[in-house]
């Protein structure tokens, strides 16, 4: 927001009917541009008043900027380029259902087909089926099954059974019934006479001859071999990530998840966030979901956008890092290390700029800057690391014994809460602990650890969130690596590295906090800590 212009419009990127629905929800919030990457069906969108622009089909060529001023470059089919600015981006790409026939080494014909083909040509496929015929559905085995696809199977199976009177079988690995009404739908199908056969050890075999195809399997419950020659054989499809997903995520700088589905696998992402503020992802592009869920995500994202718009009008509160341009040497370390991509470079600006909207106050840039050119403005939520002696204030200890003194760097999102909880429960620590609240493990620099060690304590513990649930994405893992490096250095210098502990603990886990500290305390006293109950370290581990 260097030029003071804040844009409140939303760019929706999609590839099918769902993105029109999403744009429809957003239209009540603010003005919307819809970029559809392929030719798609125009749903009820046309009459929506706030849709400023529909780009279809369009290619997204370039993307840069921060929330409130994202810049996108498009190329349309006529070859013309367009550049636009947006406040927010919603990615609403849909996943695809791909036939699994080749995985079974069979070819599609009038007797053998995929679920999506059956959906499209129901009458053609079912036209010749009658009583005495056999119809077999196969679900799973070669790919993951989902409630959404099994819902289709159960509905088709019930309809086939009811309308044609054919003997209908569904061979499956598991019932995926985690969706409203599905358990009941399976029962109703069973009552109509659909036969469901489940497998956990074996896989059915499919053989296709010129005259007939056969399905051969082991009935695991009965321990018997079974042969069926169906007149119609239908295979469940495989859910595949949107083909445009990889390109779009690279361009927008958002993480991809499992198997190339959209959205990184991260606790705090919920169903709609990405690693970037102001960029959201909704719908089946993240993996198959029900229609109701897709609708809910569209509404939730509309709420998020409305909320962010409100936040533009408010002053930034809380810890916010500022960059001292006189100290900055333009090495761009901060730009590369920010987990939220909140630091940008602008032509004409001497130093990188930190976006107050995108910054989440983790302090990783503060730690990473070799010039200490970045610091938190107003005192912030904890540590001033050149004053560790002054910070050593909270002392909880077992007074009956002479116990080690431990300085604890505790992440405000996890270990610090666990410590406060332990304290309020009156849990006993076998150590005198001085607990320093830090905004993120990633903020604790090596110098602070060494400084703490030099302040006369017996040990230093750095306790963070679990690495893959760190709110600052790579804060905890950066911290772990840093501590490992410090330890290595100490060993090289002949100093005992046992005096440093890296551990992970969740905010509600007071007993685990106590266990980590007490075990560490024992180790500092020469024991190995193995006598501490209960069991080996409850959570987290030690830096190697």
């Amino acid at each position: 927001m260097t030029d003071g212009r804040v844009n409140r419009s939303v760019l929706v990127v999609g590839n099918g009917p769902y993105c029109f629905k999403v744009a429809g929800e957003l239209a009540s919030v603010d003005s919307v541009s819809l970029a559809v990457l392929r030719e798609a069906r125009l749903d009820e969108m046309e009459q929506k008043p706030n849709l400023v622009e529909l780009l279809m089909p369009v290619e997204l060529l370039g993307f840069s900027g921060q929330p409130g001023e994202f810049r996108a470059v498009f190329r349309q089919t006529n070859g013309s380029h367009a550049e636009r600015t947006y406040g927010f981006v919603v990615v609403a790409l849909e996943s695809e259902w791909i036939s699994t026939l080749n995985k079974w080494s069979v070819v599609e014909d009038s007797r053998i087909t995929s679920l999506s083909k059956l959906e499209k040509y129901v009458n053609e496929y079912l036209g010749n089926i009658g009583p005495g015929d056999k119809v077999v559905f196969i679900s799973g085995f070669k790919q993951d099954s989902y409630p959404v696809s099994q819902e289709k199977i159960v509905n088709f199976a019930a309809a086939v059974r009811e309308k044609t009177g054919a003997a209908t079988y569904v061979l499956m690995e598991q019932f995926k019934v985690a969706q409203e009404g599905l358990e009941r739908a399976f029962r109703l199908a069973r009552e109509l006479g659909v036969v469901f056969v489940k497998f956990s050890q074996t896989i059915p075999e499919v053989r296709v001859g010129p005259k007939e195809c056969t399905v051969q399997y082991m009935d695991e419950a009965m321990g018997q071999a079974v042969n069926i020659s169906p007149q119609l054989l239908i295979f469940e499809d495989e859910a595949c990530p949107p083909p445009e997903g990889r390109y779009i995520s690279d361009l927008l700088g958002i993480n991809l998840g499992n198997q190339g589905f959209l959205q990184g696998d991260f606790l705090f992402n919920l169903p709609i966030y990405t690693n970037r503020t102001g960029i959201f992802v909704v719908g089946s592009g993240k993996g198959p979901i029900s229609e109701r869920e897709a609708e809910r995500e569209a509404e939730a994202v509309a709420e998020e956008v409305a909320k962010l718009v409100c936040s533009f009008d408010k002053e930034v509160v809380g810890p916010f890092p500022t960059l001292n341009e006189n100290e900055c040497i333009h090495c761009l370390t901060c730009y590369r290390s920010c987990p939220h991509k909140a630091i940008s470079l602008y032509p004409g600006q001497r130093s990188p700029q930190i976006s107050p909207v995108a910054c989440r106050g983790c302090g990783i840039c503060v730690e990473s800057c070799p010039r200490r050119a970045i610091d938190f403005e107003h005192g912030e939520s904890g540590i001033s690391y050149y004053d560790i002696d002054k910070e050593i204030d909270h002392i909880v200890y077992e007074d009956s014994r002479d116990v080690p003194r431990i300085a604890v760097f505790a992440c405000v999102n996890s270990a610090y809460d666990a410590y406060l909880l332990a304290k309020s429960r009156g849990d006993r620590l076998q150590a005198r602990c001085s607990v320093l609240k830090v905004p993120c493990g990633g903020r604790v620099e090596a110098a602070a650890v060494i400084k703490a060690l030099g302040s006369g304590v017996d040990g230093v513990a750095i306790l963070t969130c679990h690495e893959n649930s760190c709110k600052s994405v790579h804060g905890a893992s950066r911290c772990r690596k840093r501590i490992a490096a410090v330890k290595e250095m100490m060993t090289k210098c002949g100093v005992k590295e046992e005096a440093i502990l890296f551990g992970t603990v969740a905010p509600g886990s007071a007993p685990q906090f106590v266990e980590l500290i007490n075990r560490f305390s024992l180790r500092l006293q020469g024991g190995d800590g193995s006598s501490i109950i209960p069991g080996n370290a409850g959570s987290g581990g030690e830096a190697r």
Binding site: N258, S424, T504, G541
Partner: protein, 411 residues
């Protein structure tokens, strides 16, 4: 302009998120929670991490509670129920009843003097939060108060240095004019009936996953209730209280596979020697890397398809579990040190009353459904609508806040 108040019924993760979002949109939510504390069921879920986070979602709850504790973004009332609701023109007239025995959280400093006083008497009338981010951190469970039962003056009232504990003869009432209502009243964990084949209630080492979770949160480990020992052989019985038409629950609770497999992985991480058997019908997908979790579980635990039949007491608190083995094609019995019943989510008993009062529908499973006619003045969110996990509740709450804000803007 007069403030347009929205009543949010229920202070679980759903209700709190709805209120937080509405407040951030510049609206005025008022959360009404009948229990003593905020956070609902989710505030006491334990972390099930191994050496990495397994995404049990508890950190999401802590994060939300932390925001509320430090920013106080909206008004809430604990120990409070709705005694009457009337609809007149565009508004709801709501009567709220607080107490009569309650902690005034605006005065309370979370010092814990009341809790200690109560504990000294060996009673548990003062309850404590499970998360440090819960404010109020203490509350009154009137039914468990031993002083009242003995006809004595409650000790906590005298001990509180802030004079924050009220004990009145009648509940305190308050009238609120509201423009909209969000129902976030949550669910009830299934509890097996008195007569049950699992031996639950009869055999001390047969417990529900809810009880195991509480134990894990409180003490850091799941141990045997009978002797506090770490169990060697543990059985999980899936779908207890779910997918069973005979008990009126013909639905999958959706989240129990996820939370129980995580718990199993957590226990194996903590005690690598523990031998876990999971009896199941089907394993439901959960989370983005479901396949990874599932294959890890298949690797480290024994999965047995089919639910066991009988549960008998053996000596030393062990339990004999008999089941049909597909491998051996016959019934076999196996001893376990601890049996965990993976319980499902049941609809709240009061749902029909609430539906009646607010003009809502009830779905076939007994959960609430928005009414067709007047959908937007009353919104239902979270597990009050059906089983979902915390992340889904938060997303659902955001969508509910959106609908409510839109409704207010339109009216």
């Amino acid at each position: 302009m007069q403030k347009e108040v929205i009543i949010v019924i229920g202070g679980g993760i759903t209700g709190l998120t709805v209120a937080l979002e509405l407040a951030q949109l510049g609206k005025h939510p008022l959360v009404v929670e009948r229990g003593p504390l905020l956070g609902g069921r989710s505030a006491s879920l334990p972390c099930k991490a191994t050496d990495r986070c397994l995404k049990c979602n508890n950190c999401l709850v802590e994060d939300t509670l932390r925001q509320i504790k430090y920013d106080s973004p909206f008004e809430f009332m604990t120990h409070t129920t709705i005694s009457d609701i009337r609809r007149e023109a565009e508004s709801w007239y709501v009567t709220l009843e607080t107490g009569p025995f309650f902690i005034d959280w605006e005065k309370c400093t979370d010092c814990g003097a009341c809790y200690e006083a109560c504990a000294r008497l060996g009673a548990s009338g003062v309850v404590r939060g499970a998360s440090i981010n819960q404010h109020p951190f203490f509350g009154i469970d009137q039914k468990a108060c031993s002083c009242l039962q003995k006809g004595a003056d409650p000790a906590c009232v005298k001990e509180c240095p802030e004079g924050a504990i009220n004990i009145l003869t009648r509940p305190q009432t308050r009238q609120v004019k509201a423009h909209g209502i969000v129902v976030a009243t949550g669910y009830t964990p299934y509890v097996p009936p008195e007569k049950n084949r699992f031996g639950y209630g009869r055999l001390p080492n047969v417990i529900t996953t809810q009880e195991a979770d509480e134990m894990l949160r409180e003490s850091g480990a799941v141990t045997r209730p009978s002797d506090g020992r770490v169990p060697q052989r543990v059985a999980f019985v899936q779908c207890v209280g779910s997918r069973d038409r005979r008990i009126g629950r013909e639905y999958c609770s959706r989240i129990c596979c996820g939370y129980s497999l995580r718990l199993a992985l957590h226990m194996i991480h903590k005690y690598p020697d523990v031998d876990i058997t999971i009896f199941y019908m089907d394993i439901q997908n959960f989370g983005k890397d479901f396949e990874k979790y599932y294959s890890e579980v298949k690797d480290k635990a024994k999965l047995v398809r089919g639910l066991p039949g009988d549960f008998y007491a053996l000596d030393e608190g062990k339990i004999s579990v008999s089941y049909f083995s597909e491998e051996q094609q016959k019934n076999v019995a196996q001893p376990f040190d601890l049996v965990l019943l993976t319980i499902g989510l049941s609809p709240q008993e009061e749902n029909p009353d609430l539906a009646n009062m607010l003009g809502l529908g009830i779905n076939e499973d007994g959960f609430l459904r928005p009414s067709q006619a007047d959908a937007s003045a009353v919104v239902v969110a979270g597990t009050a609508r059906g089983p979902m996990d915390v992340a889904e509740c938060i997303c659902d709450a955001k969508s509910a806040a959106f609908k409510m804000a839109n409704f207010l803007e339109g009216s």
